[in-house]
Assembly symmetry: C2
Homo-oligomer: 449 residues x 2
């Protein structure tokens, strides 16, 4: 992005983004469920027979359909919140062309495998909000963005060390030494490709939603297996964990207004006009009211991880930039997440205040060295949106996985005998046994193995 | 700070800070060594007798003078770099008045202890650059700022849980619950006081240096013991570790252009005019040159923790915002640290580009629960500037401490028989035995126990 882009895009007086002319893009993004659910209809999963009357239907891939690494998948629709499921998922093989970039841009996502391709796998969960359109576009687009980004650097990815110049031409004899000193490894190129793919996908979603006059955003949790490593990229409040016999390893961190408070307050400090005089960037334990005026109350500002006291002035009575805690925490009173895709048009109700400058589409990427981990048959990666993690802890999910797997080893639909042939979907019954609420709360669970 | 402060202070067209009228403040900050070194003259430390001809003199407190918790201290002057030691240190008792704030502002630092005071201890190292003035001002001032900040919140610090209102008046019956839900503990008030004290001290240094026409900055590493906890606040590239029999626990993180690359690049992305067209915010493995034009080279931008390739344009040939790696990494080609106090007037050579907007005076604070740790006689906290850590690893320092302590238990100057009567200074001989360079490189070592 060019210098000054941020200001031109978000500050008053800057030109608004040019609307795309109406055309094929002007039609709304059609609603659909993940492709791998085709054929499973709306029939509930195998756990349905014993579900309680108040439990909602669970969908999972039909029997006989295997996902990469025979991953399992289950989703439910939160009928209380929306008629349609705002969430999406995607998975498939990644085939990265090892040749000059840009020669066959029309190539389809799935192609015949050959020696010229670097292959991997891709799984993704998108937790939508404000409508299903952004999550659908993300499920349709992000893997293509990632493939393009990987193809642009693939010669570096397959090298033992990424060369300073992609052409391999050595401008300076010390170039390999400079790269070595920076500690740049091939996995850094995959991390960079994931980061750039999220940005590219976010821009595509912004353009498409603007053209079709739709709204919405989504979180994105992506796992990619490539060259013996598993990359987990997360933007939002979904979570991935690795469950092993004696270990639960977090593979992601959550990005919410609470976890990113200082970054968000810092932006409001540097650009106060982003709040249009309607919000205070300061955090207080609760929203202040007239009775607090003149009193010294607990607060913290952008530079503080600790707390202090300040004497309350009238401007402190404004609505806080970040307010509430836990599941109730909101950015500008509107959003529960601070990273994700979409939301380009989202504004605070009845104002012109934009959410987007405070949102990042950048994921945090963690890398698991699968080849070196000596994974066992019972090791499982669990990826799920906040609906699961709001009601079950990492330990409870791990307990469920460890309990479920050994008991289902004879069912080819839900278990396997080897590394790459395991399927598991955690149904709502497991949930109802272990939470007071008895629901996933719209959560979806994907388990890879 | 008021809304818009950042822009008014740092962007072209904003008013310059009003110079203070000449007066008592217009005289330069007088050079001195830490007060606790008085009486020790310039005589080398006890390790001097065996030092090599090329080793520089070591200063430590004179025999008979004890520091809080009988800490040890050693410093050397890097005669190759400067005639005077740019570094400073301070330590003393903290006495926090438990009464209304602002009634006796003229009160001296050291006062008679009484029941009305909350007492603690304070140790600090300041690694100066660009002249000794900032470090001297920090050594003279920071403890007073901290005392003021703590006195402003002391009623909350001594409570079992900080009240929403400092007055204790309950405006809303649920206030204790709001504070509880935010998880605000008394230690958060001490953390907040340290964060605010660093900011306040930075402002004082800015005013004083401007008035006296001096330059300079310093890192700050501070340890404070209060109510059974040890707080370590760090802004810069110094480091503190806790050495125990079976454990080495880091008590701080370093803040350098490398460790804070994304924050610094992000600011340049949001405010490109801070670079005045002279620098590129992109990072490359080395500085690019004409031969690289048109080639695809490794780079990363503010949103990336990974790397990618970009085709080199002319603007990429500018000097990078952050350049070099390890000890050679520099911010704007000028500074090796990204946090610290002072440097308000520092500009890139022969330009009007300011360093300050990229520098933070905010420390990161870690808390050690001394009461719960069950510390043993041989447990030691080592605080040192980068001069030590550039040549010795945490493990090497721990090995030295573990070797030195048992062998010196009969020397009251360097060891003790109990918790609060231990003195230890690591001299250069220990260093020469374990590094190829045989020097501290201007490093100073403070060991608290």
């Amino acid at each position: 992005m060019s210098a000054g882009w941020f200001r031109r895009r978000f500050l008053p007086g800057g030109p608004l983004p040019t609307p795309r002319p109406a055309g094929p893009h002007a039609s709304p993004v059609p609603y659909r469920r993940p492709r791998f659910l085709r054929g499973s209809g709306s029939s509930p999963g195998p756990a349905d027979a014993s579900r309680r009357p108040d439990a909602r239907p669970v969908r999972s891939p039909s029997r006989g359909r295997t996902l990469p690494w025979n991953a399992g998948y289950a989703e439910i629709i939160n009928a209380e919140k929306s008629e349609f499921n705002e969430d999406q998922a995607a998975c498939g093989k990644l085939r990265i062309r090892r040749c000059e970039f840009g020669t066959e841009e029309e190539q389809e996502w799935l192609t015949v495998c050959s020696e010229e391709f670097l292959t991997g796998h891709y799984w993704a969960l998108f937790d939508g909000h404000g409508g299903p359109a952004a999550a659908i576009l993300a499920a349709n687009t992000l893997h293509s963005c990632l493939r393009r980004q990987l193809e642009a650097v693939v010669e570096g990815v397959v090298a033992s060390q990424p060369p300073m110049h992609l052409s391999g031409r050595c401008v300076c004899l010390s170039d390999p030494q400079f790269v070595e000193e920076k500690g740049i490894r091939t996995e850094d190129l995959v991390i960079g490709a994931l980061e750039n793919a999220f940005q590219e996908c976010d821009e595509v979603i912004g353009r498409e939603l603007e053209a079709s006059g739709q709204m919405g955003g989504c979180t994105a949790l992506v796992a990619v297996s490539l060259q013996g490593k598993l990359y987990v990229a997360n933007a939002g409040d979904s979570r991935a964990i690795l469950v092993r016999r004696d270990e639960i390893r977090p593979l992601s961190s959550e990005f919410t207004p609470e976890t990113e408070r200082q970054r968000i307050q810092q932006l409001a400090f540097i650009y106060p006009e982003l709040l249009a005089g309607e919000f205070t960037r300061l955090e207080f334990p609760r929203r202040l009211k007239g009775d607090d005026l003149g009193q010294k109350v607990l607060f913290r500002d952008h530079h503080m991880s600790g707390w202090s006291y300040k004497r309350v002035e009238k401007s402190d009575l404004k609505y806080p930039l970040i307010h509430g805690q836990g599941r109730q925490a909101r950015l500008l009173g509107t959003l529960a997440v601070s990273r994700g895709l979409g939301d380009h048009q989202l504004r605070v109700l009845d104002t012109n205040i934009q959410l987007k400058p405070f949102l990042l589409s950048v994921p945090q990427v963690t890398v698991l060295d699968v080849d070196q981990l000596a994974l066992q048959e019972e090791d499982v990666v669990v990826m799920a949106t906040d609906g699961l993690w709001d009601v079950l802890s990492n330990e409870q999910v791990a307990w469920l996985v460890r309990s479920f797997l050994p008991a289902n080893q004879q069912d080819p639909h839900s278990t396997s005998a080897g590394w790459s042939s395991q399927v598991l979907g955690i149904g709502p019954n497991a949930d109802t046994q272990h939470t007071g609420e008895g629901r996933f709360h719209g959560g979806r669970t994907g388990v890879l193995r």
